[in-house]
């Protein structure tokens, strides 16, 4: 591998600024090392558990007698455990780890008292663990994404307060007046999550609202968690990683501003479209459908911004793992939003409302977009924390393709299956059982995609484990997916 003239290094700005800045960055990275690695390690452990559960749930859906006689392995308990492990165990922890690292870097300040964050991670793990046990033992609350019983929710909230206040406090010590785009999103995410979580818990459990409003609050929470928490972290990370890796500033700050504020305004009003034609005042649903359509504005601006930044640099995706995962995630954000608009239209929702298509939508958001961006970030961040490079380029490639094909297949299966299921369900001359029958082949296909994802996650966990134990490559050159050729070098110039 020829290391000279490789385009994939620190952007030109830092190279010009010289050694002091490099040194300072290394100091900042070192200060975040312990907490971020703890967040990442826990996240990967939860990811593996969640993946195994996902496979189990998926198979049980078409093989209902599989281990169904054991109360804590019944489908209806394992499924919420899978969702919550993925949402709070994997995605939230990996997101927080990434966000902390990005905050420290962008505020250009060393992380003070990192041990407080370690305590936060510990409590968070405890909360997720207790919640999982609670659901398995039959303590689930029954509200989507808020199934954790209250004793787990309180611990999660305390842990979160510890983490978020620390991340936000970094702003106090920040250097430089300019606040970068990524910081807007991260500050938003860190502030939105506790308000959201507190509002959801208060209105459902402390002073519960009446009747169907519980469902409205539940979906308002779930959708905003997807957008204002995961979406904001994911977009913020992409805004950092893409320019960083290709060494080029973001195309337009103005576009980014429009994108951010329209995102905050419109995406927070979605959610009720999931209750379409339910027992609610029609204006609630209509408002959310309108907001969902309006999210096309941030999608277009963010997408355009990333695209123009990448313009001419797309061939670099051949080499940089970070770039490949991040760009895949950023593109999935567009697909995710388009699918969201499509299935929220009343004429379509009539068919897909009660089908597997909504599962496809959640997976697009949480996996194809968020998780892929976070994978990309982890490929960038972990070597900087450990001081070693990823050991095998081939494993990263395998991880990427298994993930990409896995989530692609899953989305196709669930969307197509959902439309088939909905079409049969809306035809009253067919028996209801026909609609279930019609989706079964697609569910088997989905299980197949689950196996692909399982392979990909095991590969990633193994590779991550090698890094943790210091078995990475000792090198100053990052690990590329393909040997860098001469033409690759030319692209950068």
């Amino acid at each position: 591998m020829n290391a000279t003239g490789i385009p994939l290094k620190e952007p030109a700005v830092s190279a010009a600024a010289g050694d002091t800045e490099q040194f300072e960055r290394a100091l900042i990275d070192a200060s975040t090392r312990v907490p971020v690695l703890i967040f990442y390690t826990s996240a990967v452990a939860w990811l593996i558990l969640g993946t195994l559960l996902a496979g189990f749930v998926s198979f049980k859906l078409h093989t209902p007698d599989l281990l169904s006689d054991i109360s804590f392995l019944t489908w209806g308990r394992v499924r919420p455990v899978h969702m919550n492990v993925m949402v709070y165990g994997w995605a939230s922890m990996a997101g927080m780890g990434t966000a902390i690292w990005l905050m420290a870097r962008l505020c250009r300040t060393v992380l003070r008292y990192p041990l407080l964050l370690v305590a936060g991670a510990g409590f968070w793990n405890l909360g997720v663990f207790l919640g999982v046990c609670g659901i398995l033992l039959g303590d689930s609350t029954g509200y989507q994404w808020l199934e954790f019983p209250s004793y787990a929710a309180i611990i999660l909230f305390v842990a979160y307060t510890l983490v978020a206040s620390w991340a936000v406090l970094m702003f106090r010590f920040r250097r430089g007046e300019q606040i970068y785009i990524t910081q807007w999103y991260l500050l938003g995410a860190f502030l939105w999550f506790p308000w959201l979580y507190a509002a959801g818990q208060l209105m459902l459990f402390v002073v519960p609202v009446q009747g169907v409003l519980q469902a409205a609050v539940g979906w308002w929470y779930a959708n905003n968690l997807l957008f204002l928490w995961f979406g904001a972290i994911g977009l913020g990370t992409a805004y950092y990683m893409i320019p960083k890796v290709i060494g080029r500033p973001v195309y337009s700050y103005h576009l980014a501003t429009i994108g951010f504020w329209s995102y905050a305004l419109f995406s927070s009003w979605t959610g009720m479209q999931r209750l379409v034609d339910g027992p609610f005042p029609a204006w609630m649903v209509t408002a959310s459908i309108a907001a969902t359509i309006l999210t096309l504005i941030p999608v277009a601006t963010v997408g355009l911004n990333h695209h123009m930044t990448m313009q001419g640099y797309f061939p670099l995706m051949r080499y940089s793992p970070t770039l490949r995962f991040t760009v895949f995630g950023a593109m999935s954000y567009t697909v995710f939003s388009l699918v969201g608009v499509l299935i929220s239209l009343r004429s379509v929702a009539r068919y897909v409302n009660f089908t597997q298509a909504s599962i496809a939508y959640s997976h697009l958001g949480l996996y194809a977009f968020f998780t892929m961006v976070i994978f990309g970030a982890m490929y960038y961040i972990v070597p900087r924390l450990i001081g070693r490079e990823w050991r095998y380029g081939s494993l990263i490639k395998l991880h990427f393709w298994a993930s990409a094909y896995g989530i692609g297949l899953m989305t196709l299966m669930l969307l197509a299956g959902g439309f088939m299921q909905g079409a049969s369900m809306e035809n009253p001359s067919l028996a209801f059982s026909e609609s279930v029958e019609s989706v079964m082949p697609y569910l088997r296909g989905r299980s197949l995609s689950g196996i692909l994802l399982m392979v990909s996650h095991f590969i990633f966990a193994y590779h991550f484990g090698l890094m943790l134990f210091g078995l990475g490559r000792k090198s100053t050159v990052p690990t590329f997916l393909n040997p860098v050729e001469a033409e690759g070098a030319e692209v950068a110039h």
């Binding site: 859906l61 007046e177 606040i179």
Partner: protein
């Protein structure tokens, strides 16, 4: 962007806007509904749930039934729910005011259960979730047949808001209906299993009723179904909930609760399978799922068509039945 203050205010403002718009205002609009009643205050709907039903709802949620079964009927224009006979009117916020947790559901890998209790055989249907709270022993809510005919007799509530329910549910109206009914254009949807078996419609969930089973949607049937779904419908992909049941030796006489199982599911001689308390609560909850009571603010299906004969006999103020 410079300065934290505008950023912080914007972040807070967008969140507050969404919170007020999508939770606070709806709460102000439909968050404090009361049960409806007629003028004498006798025919109250809905009624608070009994302890067993409340516990049953928790068992239902804890075992994730809501991930496959919805509990909401959409209006005719929005889906085929009413044509599938999952209810004869759309669900309304008032139907759920005593439910906690509310389990509307987002997936139909199984049927909608909003009216599963209303589909029980007549003698089995619990008159109301609280039992004794039913004001009149012959009250309309006690028998699904009566409810259906009363609904058939009532003019569209949208036109006459108040006195309809009173008129339609008065015992006189019910008593007068069956003999005089000349078979209106569209009879109210039949809910008795006998009728379903006699004329299996394609949309009936399981057209072929297996012999040797309790009547469909009776409590005993639910227990058998929960214990062994595929003994009732071979194609079902519902998991079995055997962990909610107990196999025990028959001490002196067979328990009246024991499941009527056949074939390979049947326990060995001298043993019986009985529901645990949780299973009984779960079935009590399902039997209480019943939105067949008319609501003043929701039009019931079939109401306009069947208006003429019985409605003219009812003491409702003139004008409405002339449709």
């Amino acid at each position: 962007m410079k300065g934290l203050a505008p950023l912080f205010l914007g972040i807070f403002g967008t969140f507050a806007f969404s919170w007020v718009g999508l939770t606070v205002i709806p709460n102000w609009q439909i968050g404090h509904l009361n049960p409806q009643s007629d003028e004498e205050g006798t025919d109250i709907y809905p009624l608070p749930q009994s302890g067993m039903v409340t516990r049953g709802a928790r068992v239902y949620a804890a075992n994730g039934c809501n991930y496959c079964h919805s509990e909401q009927v959409r209006a005719e224009y929005a889906g085929a729910d009413i044509e599938r006979k999952w209810g004869d009117r759309r669900s309304a916020p008032r139907d759920y005011i005593f439910e906690r947790p509310v389990l509307l559901g987002k997936m139909r890998m199984g049927q909608d259960l909003a009216n599963i209790g209303a589909r029980a055989p007549k003698e089995e249907e619990s008159p109301s979730p609280t039992g004794g709270a039913s004001p009149a022993p012959q009250g309309a809510a006690a028998s699904p047949g009566a409810v259906a005919s009363a609904k058939g007799a009532s003019p569209p509530p949208a036109i006459s808001p108040s006195p309809v329910t009173a008129a339609a549910t008065s015992p006189g109206a019910i008593a007068s209906k069956p003999p005089t009914s000349p078979g209106p254009a569209s009879p109210p949807p039949s809910k008795s299993p006998a009728a379903a078996a006699a004329a299996p419609s394609p949309s009936a969930p399981w057209p072929e009723q297996t012999a040797g089973l309790p009547p469909m949607y009776s409590a005993a049937w639910h227990h058998v179904h929960l214990y062994s779904p595929r003994s009732i419908n071979l194609d079902s992909n519902m998991p079995s909930y055997r962990f909610l049941y107990q196999t025990r030796r028959i001490s002196d006489a067979r328990s009246s609760d024991a499941l009527q199982l056949t074939g390979s599911d049947a326990p060995p001689e001298g043993w019986e399978i009985v529901p645990t308390y949780d299973a009984k609560c779960l079935v009590a909850y399902m039997m209480a799922l019943n939105q067949s009571h008319p609501l003043k603010d929701v039009r019931s299906a079939g109401a306009p068509a069947a208006a003429s004969p019985a409605a003219s006999a009812s003491p409702a103020p003139g004008g409405q039945p002339a449709k």
